[in-house]
Symmetry: C2
């Protein structure tokens, strides 16, 4: 059993209590998220709403009297979807309605006339690899690997099926497929198709890719069992326009002792073009701003500079995070730590970390005790955190807020990610957790 | 730092994994709760629905092939509410509508003509104690102590305001009040009044007691500040009819080695007469049954007898639990452990325990490691667990399933406690947690 010496004092306890009290009694974070979700809505690249959301968060930072608020311009891809997406089983006696579908982000369209093809069901990457090219060429590939329901670890299960959405189109195309239909990446049985980005592989012909709801994936699978030569009609109208200029929104409170050393909090401001992006990642953005507002409200003067960043274009290539890191490297900006909230505004359970610095891990573990009364018990090495990952160096500490993800996978990238599914106290507890760890990092450093 | 030797083997790990897998992929618990909540509904003492729910859970246990299923008859109080409950501010220029109200469980009625009185606001028990009898006599007392929002520990905050609902009427009556209005016991600002039981103190005149929503408590408080001599009209029509016979529902799987030693799982089948009792405590009942179904489904033969109990009348006096314990003592039935789920069907976070047996605590702690992958990290000494508390003796282990209670206090005993607020996976995880700990207790005992 490892033991860590404790790096904290009694007074830290009382500051953290104040942070929680302020957050649970006076926080504007829930109302801010309501505004972002209900008054602005989803915020896909190129949309008016994205620009409105950028301006809204910029204004919030000004209102909360951050020392500096500015925008970092960046070119982002401009993929758009047009209405009338259709996935239809042709001539089926049992499937009489169109399937609930949504084109995957970045997909090419089918053209106005749509496309028709025989469908072949593929269950898993092995199955795709083993299936003869002859059997796939000219067909629509239906990638029906299920999200593993039986595993409590949502991220683990997600990682297993992610290839279908991210790489399924190129992998099927390499074997001659004319389009792919994927089972929505969620363990929940429902009628809501889930979108998300495709990475088309260079040198492989792009083919249209569309997700259908889990219930309809079951329906289609049953149809294929009954009639192996089932034909499908697909019509999606998406296209990629010219890149547009958008912005990362950045606000900071200057550090009193180490103004050139940054502790960053962040979330991504963009979403797909469905739902309201309340959990993904409206919650994270407003929690990140809230951390700095808490320092102001409680008159805690940070020693390091605290910086809140709303990254643009996480969903379609994580280029906001990349551009931010690139500029940081160019300007030689030192980030001692960065914490991201991108797992939804659910009950926070702890933090996951990614660092090469053993001392930082020990320091983090030494604070665990302080978080016990706040039910933050998970301190685990975690997955890379996308927007902040490019900031990683030999010394700094990358953190993510770990949340109760059981519901997340039934909401994200779908019509279900709306404000009504956010609980006020849970959202506030997330912001309080982030502010508390930032407070400790600022006070004690990470080594 | 305490250390515990680990009492488990590798194979336990794999059984627990099977329990979770079965639960997350094939469990009927969510559909069962849908039926109980939507097809039957709330289940107040004396109602047809309560009897239907008792029969429904009895039939479930038979369907799942428990070895024995039976009913324990018990007389329960029969308090009923009739429509047209009113709390009205008289002649107020600012409060033009009636307040959202609900009579507290067990309250006497006001009579057909209602009652009118000047209102006095009291903020906390100290305030009530200090206020002169003269100032209270003949008045309606408005108990407006707030549920402490700033504390993450919901049960702690609940314990601080509970007196208003449970004892406020008698305490105010002792000082000559003619009725009490209480601020609903929830930290959430909303329009849903929250009911719950009164304990009228013997020898003190019973007076009517009604809860108003938190938003309306704020409204009323502002009105009183503006017009200290504010008058209120109250009309509630409740009465207590003759006791009726109802039943605890009991089902068991016989133990192969210690058939006379019981490991109990339970929840209470009754509710108040509002909402659907989905979280309180439909979830707990169906999870308790689910534990035994899991043993059957996975062909795990328990050494001790597993018994699922649906207690009746928890809400209005906990007499179902008391009668069950009484009969157990009479028959000298040995309960080595009992686990109750009555904190809602939310994400389970761990277990709280109550025992005089140090060895049992050590044993419990030695299993913590097994539960880490399932995010059950809270193993704390906890509050008495009402229905099983009378079973406590020098040796046995009483447990409760600890859940994420952040939302619970905005739902329970109100119109908001409906099936739609239950998450399928979270409900299932609760049942899996209970089944896993029961499996370990059965296999290793508690000392």
């Amino acid at each position: 059993m490892m033991c860590f010496s404790n790096t904290y004092s009694q007074s830290d306890d009382s500051i953290i209590q104040k942070i929680y009290r302020e957050q649970l009694t006076k926080s504007p974070v829930y109302e801010n998220l309501r505004f972002l979700s209900k008054e602005i809505g989803n915020r896909v690249n190129g949309s008016h709403q994205l620009e409105t959301a950028i301006e809204y968060t910029r204004q919030l930072m000004i209102k909360y009297q951050f020392d500096t608020v500015y925008l970092q311009p960046i070119k982002i891809p401009n993929w758009i979807r047009e209405p009338n997406e259709t996935v239809r089983v042709i001539n089926s006696p049992s499937v009489k309605r169109d399937l609930n579908c949504i084109a995957l982000g970045n997909s090419i369209g089918t053209g106005e006339e749509g496309l028709i093809g025989e469908v072949i069901e593929i269950n898993g990457l092995d199955d795709l690899t083993k299936t003869d090219k002859d059997l796939i060429t000219g067909k629509i590939v239906f990638l029906n690997q299920h999200f593993e329901k039986g595993n409590i670890n949502i991220l683990e299960s997600y990682a297993k099926v992610l290839w279908q959405r991210a790489n399924g189109a190129s992998q099927a195309s390499a074997k001659g497929a004319i389009a792919v239909i994927i089972r929505s990446l969620t363990p929940v049985n429902n009628n809501s198709p889930v979108t998300g980005g495709i990475n088309y592989q260079e040198g492989i012909k792009k083919i249209p890719a569309v997700a259908i709801s889990t219930n309809d994936a079951d329906l289609l699978s049953a149809q294929i069992k009954q009639t192996p030569e089932t034909k499908i009609y697909i019509e999606i109208h998406c296209k990629t326009l010219k890149d547009v200029t958008s912005y990362n929104v950045i606000g900071e409170i200057k550090g009193s002792q180490f103004p050139d050393e940054i502790i960053l909090t962040g979330g991504h401001i963009d979403t797909w073009d469905i739902g309201e992006g309340a959990h993904d990642d409206g919650a994270g953005c407003l929690q990140a701003i809230e951390v700095l507002r808490l320092f102001r409200a409680l008159n805690i003067e940070p020693k390091h500079t605290l910086r809140a960043v709303m990254w643009v274009n996480e969903e379609n290539g994580v280029s906001g995070g990349a551009a931010y890191a690139e500029e940081s490297i160019l300007k030689n900006t030192k980030h001692i730590a960065a914490i991201e909230s991108d797992l939804g505004g659910f009950l926070p359970l702890g933090f996951y970390y990614d660092t090469n610095n053993e001392a930082a891990i020990n320091r983090l573990m030494s604070w665990k005790k302080l978080f016990e009364p706040y039910q933050l018990l998970q301190f685990d090495k975690g997955l890379p955190v996308f927007d902040i990952l490019p900031l990683k160096n030999e010394k700094n500490l990358l953190l993510g807020l770990m949340t109760n993800m059981q519901k997340y996978s039934g909401l994200y990238h779908s019509e279900n990610d709306v404000f009504e599914t956010v609980d006020k106290r849970e959202l506030e507890l997330g912001a309080a957790a982030m502010a508390s760890i930032v407070f400790l990092i600022d006070k004690y450093g990470i080594e």
